[in-house]
Symmetry: C2
Subunit: 704 residues, 2 copies
């Protein structure tokens, strides 16, 4: 069965069976039954319990098989060991969707994992969808129905929320009831054995009752499906994610620069960014954003007007705006003239507009409306402090009226105060004006709305460029390395792979004797570079394994012997294949271009300032492959060296197109060959515009 | 009169006169009178109003002169034009401290500024202190007394708060009453004509009722006094500052790298850091910190134990800790064994300690106590989500009991939820356990406490090194440049100044003809560098004004002519003094060392990665002069190039001591000569350890 069709049934079932329903308070099967009844579910409820004939006023059945009518959804709350049989029966009965609340599967280890696998097999066999197992259940406030063991049902609203932690969900539910935050859907993901975050994101995207999607996840099941679902939904609805486990670094052994510089969480960060998802690290702040989103249209730009009755809070707000990437709007001369005519002479008529401590509701009204009318303004923040002559409630009403008159631009209130602001805040909230007690939270929420529009608009339908490549040659090299029982490629092998993908690379040949070294140097042309060829020696320069600028056969011979000596001295146990003889590339701007592979999201491409100090400078950025040309350009320009490559201080610009090409070819190579787990080009030299790039040192590691 | 003695009287007056007291509701003089009476002030109140004989039950006087007894404090709320006379009378009467609420001084322009000056003169003449003018007044909750026109009096607490914005203060007061946050002192700084932030910081430092100092400022009156006051107080009490106006950049024209890289707010940031003050940008968060500080001892380290009944929130908290600079404690094996024995097998006994969703109050108790006992743990965060078997209130009590048993370590609760947490939160608050609804705010508050201890401990009593210097020579050069009506020094002048302070510098001589150029090159020794000598040409390399590596007289002659040609072509209006001939320094690691001058805090020293890309790399850090050797070392090590200078990847370390010396000598130079408003050494070359530093290009600008 199509998963989305399954979720449609799950969201709006006509009949629900509760397998494990119970009359006994404190049992989960009792909680689920009561929630279903109390949430006002209008379909038919079928409790299943072999020991009862009636549960909470509903006729109970021994087994789902015994029910005559069709069952859309079955909620399973029986012990784990009985679940498989129940699922089999649900399949036979033709149930479309299962909510398995029962714990004791993957989370308890190998045995549970096996059991969970069998669940999924049954789901596939009978074309059912499964939510869970080990979850809290599901709540749809529009249907309405609550098939969970939560205590209480959330208020109706437009936030669709899915969470990988059931406990977090219960906390948020309880909190939301006090804070009066509403939800459209409330989904506990549990172990995600069958349905996962990507399925629910897509379903939330199609759900007319949901306008704002909020996720708490600790991992994703399938990186590509997740990104695909997000990219599909983002143009219509914002997705905000709290992804925890940032710090559970898990020191992964990485031999490449790229591998060591990409933290365990980098791929998630990059994946969110590339699919338009906003990442947050503060749960409470997310609900601020949701509340603003709920009430307001999105801003069409980042220019904010501030209206205030006090200077200090105005400056604080200005600071917060600039720190959040919002601009203080430059008011039109028309607005400024209007304000000059209508405000006292001491008022500030530029932005922030300070209507002074004596500001009356009508003063606020004219300032706010002038700001909302101004085409240089995208949104308006209204600050109010309780001063002697301040009329808080009347001013609140004026703000509501202004919004009714000019509903297109976000209008947010910051009423700084406590008890004296209680009633004004009610006026604002009922008038659909988001209201905050300090400027920072308001600015943060507004900035996030704006950033969502930027993320959304940055999603492009651009094709992935394809370059000509000799795949056969790469296959051959990799298979030879495998036969040799190695994972780290020798320099000449790595360079040959790069060449096969038309990456401009310094030519390299392996010499096993000083005689051969001299001949190869002659063939490549002087000057040459000599490098130790050993899969065991990663940082060659550290042990004196590199000699550059060799101009004569004598120098080549001496360097050959010296390098072997150095290697033996510093790493006596390293396997030495010989010495690579390499043509000497003209020096350019030093770059690093590399790739590591994320278990969820695949090849992660790194670009940055190269050379031996890569790990100290950390002037790097990341994107996931495959990439478009715009992606490649962004990857370059996100770094400081990217700015330098454009040509500054009278320097000629570098060949950015050639760098983009190189990034795109690497992206293609590592997408074609999953075997390549790590790749570093460091340095690559970038030359002046039109003069290309040269990969000087290419390192490749293949998977086991 | 000593300002601190004046503030002592201001904090605890035995008698208060209200000049401008009024019977009429809505008048400030009425608000002040009512606040004084309602706050429970136990001293005698003397209303001054020529038109009344009795105000709010207190006998009124025509003038302060008419009162027989001594008056400690006079609050002035009459129109600005009458203030001067009233202050004069207060002086004659022997009043010790004035609170001038009246507005209409500096803030209205020149005329007001003159009036304000006269106020200060009178204060000095009669040895009084003045708070304000243009302020809200002052509140001392311990005395108690409220001599302000605020609406309401804050609760008693231990936060001393001073604010440059009266409106912000009223908002916070109102909010604090709702949020149940208490204050010891509440001071509105107003125009700071006489008493300013530094005076109140020192007074708060001495005040036994205040344990936590909080400031809102837009500027400081005297940078050095401010820093001195903070450094005096920080060892006893934390100071948190919200400094607004970060973004009011005010594009200051700066010709040096240092000047252009130091934003208008950099000096404040650096001054706060160097004096141990924590800067915050979120008002609400500050009160979180205050609440934790109020209840708990300071943590003795950054190792946190987390006790939870759910995995998800535990991971979120772990992330928040690591993002805030707190470490997840590694529990002792003893603790781990104890937990293993006492918790169910599925519980997580490492950190975070997950006592599972079934955790009962006694489970929480044993986990918390074990964590508090563990010497690897500096503080404990307890998370609770409302699950089926959770006993919220009993668990709250267990936390309170654990704190009573082990009061030395901070213990903070995060009870995630809303209505079901209302009563448990009361239990915690009454038991002096700070409680939050989401982990992030709790972690942030705890981290700030820890960071305060770090700031506090970093304040050292280390002397400022003094190097031998030829001050006379510098005076002579500066005076010659002045006579020449210039502000930008020529290369040879700047280098001579550096030499006078024993800064290792490349020798430089000015040539005005090609013949002279050749002779000077001979004298300095080949190879040499030629540079255009013009105060109008700042970025010499951009216009072809520098030629390096000249090895023969012929090359020098050609370069001399070419440079003059280039200068004429690119900057035809520039005044050309000739061409500087400079000895060619051996290349080393490129550094920049510079100085700009902040109007409040004086010389601001910059160090970083040098060369022509300084503005793009922005690998720089700042400190205020004068500096200790530790300061200089920190300045270096805060940059990425600092790490490289220590010697990485098998490279030899650079001569860090010589770099420190150079920084310290510059620090001494710009402290000695206030005339030097900007100084750049870029590049300075750093050589291997023991081989020193060489300043290759020194630029100096003097004040007008």
């Amino acid at each position: 069965m199509d998963r989305q069709k399954g979720i449609d049934v799950l969201f709006n079932p006509r009949t629900i069976a509760v397998i494990g329903a119970s009359e006994t308070r404190g049992k989960l099967g009792n909680d689920v039954m009561r929630n279903l009844i109390e949430s006002g579910y209008e379909g038919r409820i079928y409790p299943i319990n072999p020991k009862s004939s009636d549960i909470l006023g509903h006729r109970a059945y021994r087994s789902i098989i015994d029910i005559a009518s069709t069952i859309d959804v079955a909620v399973i709350v029986i012990p784990a060991k009985f679940v498989l049989k129940a699922v089999e029966e649900c399949g036979e009965k033709g149930v479309k969707a299962l909510v398995i609340i029962t714990a004791g599967f993957k989370e308890i280890g190998h045995e549970g994992q096996e059991l969970e696998k069998k669940l999924v097999d049954l789901a596939e066999k009978y074309e059912m969808v499964i939510q869970g197992p080990n979850c809290l259940g599901i709540i749809n406030t529009s249907s309405p129905y609550n098939a969970s063991f939560s205590s209480g049902t959330p208020s109706k609203g437009t936030i669709a929320f899915a969470s990988q932690s059931g406990a977090l969900m219960t906390g948020i539910l309880d909190w939301s009831l006090m804070e009066k935050i509403g939800f459209s859907k409330f989904v506990s993901l549990g172990n995600k054995a069958h349905l996962n975050e990507a399925d629910f994101i897509e379903a939330f995207g199609r759900d007319p009752d949901s306008t704002f999607i909020l996720l708490y996840i600790e991992s994703v099941v399938d990186g590509h499906k997740f990104m695909e679902a997000c990219r599909k939904v983002i143009p219509q609805k914002p997705i905000f994610v709290v992804k925890s486990g940032v710090s559970a670094a898990g020191a992964r052994a990485a031999s490449s620069h790229t591998g060591s510089l990409a933290g365990s969480d980098t791929a998630y960060d990059v994946a969110f960014k590339q699919s338009g998802v906003r990442r947050a690290n503060d749960m409470a702040a997310l609900f601020d954003i949701a509340s603003v989103f709920d009430d307001m249209y999105l801003p069409s730009g980042n220019r904010v007007a501030i209206v205030t009755n006090a200077g200090g809070p105005g400056i604080l707000t200005t600071d917060a705006c600039e720190a959040s990437g919002l601009d203080i709007a430059q008011l039109s001369s028309q607005t400024i003239e209007f304000l000059k005519e209508n405000l006292p002479p001491a008022a500030a008529v530029y932005n922030p507009i300070d209507a002074l401590g004596t500001a009356q509701p009508e003063d606020y009204g004219l300032c706010i409306e002038a700001a909302l009318r101004d085409e240089n303004v995208d949104s308006v923040l209204v600050l109010l402090t309780p001063q002697a002559m301040t009329k808080e409630t009347e001013t609140a009403q004026v703000i509501v009226d202004a919004h009714t008159k000019y509903p297109d631009k976000p209008l947010i209130a910051v009423f700084m105060g406590g008890n004296s602001m209680v009633y004004p805040r009610i006026v604002l909230t009922e008038g659909h004006i988001p209201v905050f007690d300090f400027p920072e939270r308001a600015v943060h929420a507004l900035a996030e709305l704006y950033k969502y529009t930027v993320s959304r608009d940055s999603l492009r339908d651009e094709s992935i460029p394809k370059f000509k490549a000799d795949k056969k040659k790469v296959e051959k090299i990799i298979s030879d390395v495998r036969k040799d029982n190695r994972r780290v490629l020798l320099g000449n092998e790595a360079h040959a792979i790069a060449e096969a993908y038309d990456i401009p690379v310094a030519k390299i040949r392996l010499a096993t004797s000083s005689e051969e070294a001299k001949n190869l140097a002659e063939e490549l042309g002087y000057p040459v570079v000599l490098k130790i060829a050993s899969p065991d020696i990663v940082h060659k320069s550290d042990i004196g394994g590199i000699k550059v600028g060799l101009k004569t056969p004598e120098e080549v011979e001496a360097a050959f012997l010296q390098i072997l000596d150095n290697a033996k001295k510093h790493m006596p146990k390293a396997i030495i294949y010989g010495v690579d003889i390499q043509e000497m590339a003209e020096t350019g701007k030093e770059l690093i271009i590399g790739c590591s592979r994320d278990v969820q999201f695949g090849p992660l491409i790194m670009f940055g300032a190269g050379g031996i100090f890569v790990n100290y400078l950390k002037d790097i950025s990341f994107k996931l492959a495959p990439m478009t040309r715009t992606d490649a350009n962004e990857l370059i320009m996100e770094t400081k060296i990217g700015t330098l490559l454009k040509g500054v201080r009278g320097e000629l610009p570098s060949d950015v197109i050639a760098i983009e090409d190189t990034i795109l070819k690497i992206s293609q190579l590592v997408t074609d060959f999953e075997e390549i787990v790590e790749l570093d080009i460091n340095p690559a030299f970038a030359y002046d515009k039109g003069k290309g790039v040269s990969a000087v040192d290419v390192k490749i590691t293949i998977g086991g």
